[in-house]
Structures are given as structure tokens and as C-alpha cells.
Symmetry: C2
Subunit: 248 residues, 2 copies
């Protein structure tokens, strides 16, 4: 209600493109909507209802409608959302039209896999540099890129105007890598190393820890086991489902 810039074409960012501050929870779901929309577009759908898109994205329709309403979106009452238009809107909001340069630090087990991960390129990301501290790895060719030494990280990251740095090093070196990235002007970091990174407040850090995910699942296993073992308990109470049946 505060600012509805209906007439602004998304791609055209002349001055200030009316950037709404979306709730974090909404932002985290937009990529999922986008994936679902791309899938729908491939199957030839022109429009989707909130119900349909919500099912494809694994959320309920009320949440989806509220999320989309935040970005002042176009839907047609009685019809639904225009798939192509919504794709453009979300890609614009997420800044995926910018084809951002990504560098990857740490070409071990995991880093090697990330370097070859197709999902990065298929969204608007270009992996443009690989780094490792191990002299034996420097010079190695991975996916058309040559691994460079981390000593050169700061210089090269600045030269290539890297937008996002991905850290896949052992925990001990992660902070030093983060410092180098920050010094090179990188303001977004995706961290796969366990542990806390300390960075200036204008730098965004997202963390992915595979072991943590397993531990959370382990907790739920433990909980489920102790429920079924309950003396007076029913054998399998229908837990409040997090991700319910969606009927593909």
C-alpha cells in the first residue's frame, strides 16, 4: 500500500527502481518459486493459480500469495499469474540478470564438486576463478579453469570484480580467506566451512553446514523413536508435517 510502482518495467533500472524491503522468509522462498515457474514454463503453461504454483513449490497458497503481494506482483483475479511475467519479476528482484561473477576458494573434496556444479551456471552465476592454498593443486585444470594460489586471491578477486565468494576450505583457514575476500571488496560470502566468520556488517554471509543438517535429522529420529516407545502413547502420531504430500 505504501508504494505501488505498477508502471515500472522490471529490466529498466533508470534511477531508483522502487526496491521494496521484502521479509527474509519471503526472499528465501523466491528461488523456489522461480524454479517451479521455470518448470511450468517448460511444460507450456501460460498462467498458474496460486494453488498450482504453491503446490509446485511445496508451500501453501496463502503463503505464496502473501509473498508475491510483497513484490507488488501482477496476478489476474479469476485467472492467476502470468508465468513469463512472474519469472521476469522474480529474476529482476533477485538480481539474476546481472550474471554475477563467483569465485571458489578451496578445491578439495567439496570444492571440486562445487566447481563443476551445473546449477550455478543455469541460474545467472559465472564461476570465474578457483583458488587453493596447496601448491600441488595450483595449476590444476577444473572445468576449464586453472586453480590459482590463495596468495593471489585478493588481487585477482578485485580485478575480476567478484560479487560472491564461496569458501570450501578447512575450518582453520576460512577466516583468513574471508578477510582476503572482504579486502578485495567482496560483500557476499557463501561459507561451507564449519565455524563462525567475523566480517564487517555490510558483508552478507550465508552458511551451509552439511553435518548440521544431519544432526537436525538425527534429533527428529531420536524424538520419533522416543514417541513410539511411550508407554501410553499411540504407535505413530501424525506429526505436524513440515513437507506434506503434494501429489505430483
Amino acid at each position: 500500500m505504501s508504494q505501488q510502482r505498477h508502471g515500472s518495467t522490471p529490466g529498466e533500472a533508470d534511477g531508483v527502481p522502487a526496491f521494496p524491503d521484502l521479509p527474509e522468509a519471503t526472499i528465501a522462498r523466491l528461488p523456489e518459486y522461480l524454479r517451479a515457474l521455470h518448470h511450468l514454463a517448460e511444460t507450456g503453461a501460460e498462467t498458474v493459480s496460486s494453488e498450482g504454483l504453491a503446490a509446485a513449490a511445496g508451500v501453501n497458497s496463502a503463503k505464496l500469495r502473501k509473498d508475491l503481494s510483497h513484490l507488488g506482483s501482477y496476478g489476474t483475479r479469476g485467472v492467476g499469474y502470468d508465468v513469463a511475467l512472474l519469472v521476469d519479476q522474480i529474476e529482476y528482484i533477485l538480481g539474476l540478470d546481472k550474471n554475477r561473477a563467483v569465485c571458489l576458494v578451496g578445491v578439495g573434496n567439496l570444492g571440486h564438486a562445487l566447481a563443476g556444479y551445473a546449477g550455478f551456471a543455469s541460474r545467472g552465476f559465472r564461476v570465474v576463478a578457483l583458488f587453493d592454498a596447496d601448491p600441488k593443486k595450483v595449476g590444476e585444470q577444473i572445468n576449464g579453469l586453472t586453480v590459482q594460489h590463495t596468495d593471489d586471491l585478493e588481487r585477482i578477486a578485485a580485478e575480476e570484480s567478484i560479487a560472491i565468494g564461496v569458501i570450501a576450505t578447512p575450518p582453520g583457514t576460512a577466516q583468513a580467506v574471508a578477510d582476503a575476500l572482504v579486502a578485495a571488496g567482496v560483500t557476499s560470502i557463501l561459507n561451507f566451512a564449519p565455524g563462525v566468520l567475523s566480517v564487517p556488517s555490510n558483508v552478507d554471509v550465508r552458511k551451509v553446514d552439511l553435518a548440521i543438517e544431519l544432526q537436525i535429522l538425527s534429533f527428529h529420529e531420536h524424538r520419533k523413536a522416543s514417541l513410539t516407545a511411550l508407554p501410553g502413547g499411540r504407535s505413530a502420531p501424525p506429526a505436524s508435517g513440515d513437507q506434506e504430500a503434494v501429489g505430483s
Copy 2:
């Protein structure tokens, strides 16, 4: 206040071990506390204050104290928390003393890296089986395990009483793999494939999508860029930091 089972030794699960239902947000942070505690234990610390542990885990102390209070935890006022005791408590709650069997489906780029990921074994998880649908990969040895065909997944997963299944296949086959896991009695799934899995409500699914993380960072890059471009805006407003300086 409702149930404080102070006298119950964690490891001893004779009957019903007073399982509190912790908030999801708390559960998600427990592994982080655990990692910080292990680190502290290595440096020889016997006790920590909420302030100290919070800093090591990257949260503020009020949050940490509330989280720990939920598991009816032992802290000594005026002193802090006993590191060793808290480690035991959290490991018990998370069910990490059960040494759960994990299987990994999809030994491609990412799956290969996961199979060799040290972080799994170092917490209480044993990767006991690897599967792939590609006949060329079946028979391959990775980290001491032989890759088996996904046709045998259901049988083997049941035999080995797998607790957690990790899906690292292409999106197209993820649902079929999930179905097989569920049929084998697996009730926890960690999914690296993009897309929504539909499973019975008693099965927990956690999803990790590397491309989504980058897209979220991209949004924030976009937002930061549009802020600094603001006509009347200051050049770098101190955004409400998500992960602030922690002073290592």
C-alpha cells in the same frame, strides 16, 4: 517450568527420558553450540559463560541462555556452564550417541564429495552404503565402499537399517529414490536435488540447494547496490548485520 527432570542422567534411557519438545529454531542451533563446545574443550576450558559460548557460536547470549534453558540445562549461576556436561546433554538430545547409519544415493559430482566428507564421521554418522543408477558407476570403490545399483536400494537399506538417506541425484530421479527410501523404512532424508519431494508425514525431509543460497546472496547484492545508488542516500548505510563481528 512444566517439567524439570534434573536428576536424570542423559545417557541412561531406561524408560521415557523426558523428551521436551524444543522449538525448531533452537534445534537448528544446537549443533552449532556443540561444535563451539568441542572447540572449547580442546582448548582445555572446563566452564564457559553464556557470553563466551554465544560469541563462539555466533549468537547473542540471551538467545543462547533461552535455548539451553529449554533443554532444562545445567548451568551454575555466577560461574557458567560445565563444558563436558553440556556436550553430553546436547549429544544426547540430538541422538548423536546412536551412531546412525547413513546411505548416499547418487555418486556424481556432489555425491562423490559427500561420500568422502569427514564431517559426517566426526559426528556420530556412519556412511554404510552408496548407490547409483549408472551401471558404469556400480562397482566403483569410494572411501572403502562399493557403489551398488539403486535397484537394490530398497532391499539393502532395509537390511542395513539405514536411519538417514542422502539424495544427491539429478532432480528427475529424486522422487523415485525418496519413494524407495521410504519403502525401506527410512524416515529421515537429506535432499540435495532441486525440487519438492512428496513423502508421508512421518518422514522428515531437509533440503539443501546450493543454487538457492547464491540467489539469496544475489538479492542482497542487488539491494545493497540499489541503496548506494539512492539519490539522497548515504554511501554505505550500516545494514542490520546478520552475522556481526565476533572478535576471534
